[in-house]
Subunit: 121 residues, 2 copies
């Protein structure tokens, strides 16, 4: 896994179990045992998943006696959303420019019967 922050966050969310953990943590903090209960995998496996989320900064673990309550740090989702929105928007703008060009082209064609001069494609 590459070491940059955005990559770590994307990678952390590229697993259904970890996304489910994040989803459940929006309800409230929970201990490792509570979190692990619903899954058909060992507690250790879930602890590892939490480790991945922790390295990505998505989650922090407090100490409370033997418990280790897990807390969601939802702010770090923001840069990810931002990246996605930036490029989705950029792509959309490009389509709109393209549509405009096509519209102009078909106007030209409609206006005269001479075939388009600059026929690309």
């Amino acid at each position: 896994m590459p070491t940059d922050q955005l990559s770590r966050t994307f990678a952390a969310l590229a697993d259904p179990t970890r996304r489910d953990l994040v989803a459940r943590l929006t309800i409230g903090d929970a201990t490792v045992g509570d979190l692990a209960a619903p899954y058909a995998m060992s507690l250790q496996a879930v602890s590892k998943h939490l480790g991945v989320l922790e390295k990505a900064g998505l989650v922090t673990r407090r100490k409370q006696a033997q418990r280790r309550p897990v807390h969601l740090e939802a702010e770090v989702l923001a840069p990810v959303t931002e990246w996605l929105e930036t490029y989705r928007r950029r792509a959309e703008e490009r389509y709109q420019r393209l549509d405009a060009v096509l519209a102009e082209l078909s106007d030209t064609q409609a206006g005269s019967d001479t075939p388009a001069t600059g026929g690309t494609r």
Copy 2:
């Protein structure tokens, strides 16, 4: 890598080279060779990266003589953004409820020394 769509998309974006490819493709379609040029890795490696993006549905490849122009399918970013926004919002709502509880608690403390008679506000 798990086989569900959302996981594939997150995983595809969890690599800086692939994110850069997506970013550059918002400018416009490009051939594999053009895309590979700036990177310090083989053409084959870039072709593999494009394969990953293609499996995630983020990209399609046309045939045009020997060229294989790559096209970005930006719509598939939407479900990812949606997932992120859903849970970011859910977490935020929880914080606001928590803040409200805390505010009420400190109001009660500040307002009188007799314990709260009823919910103020």
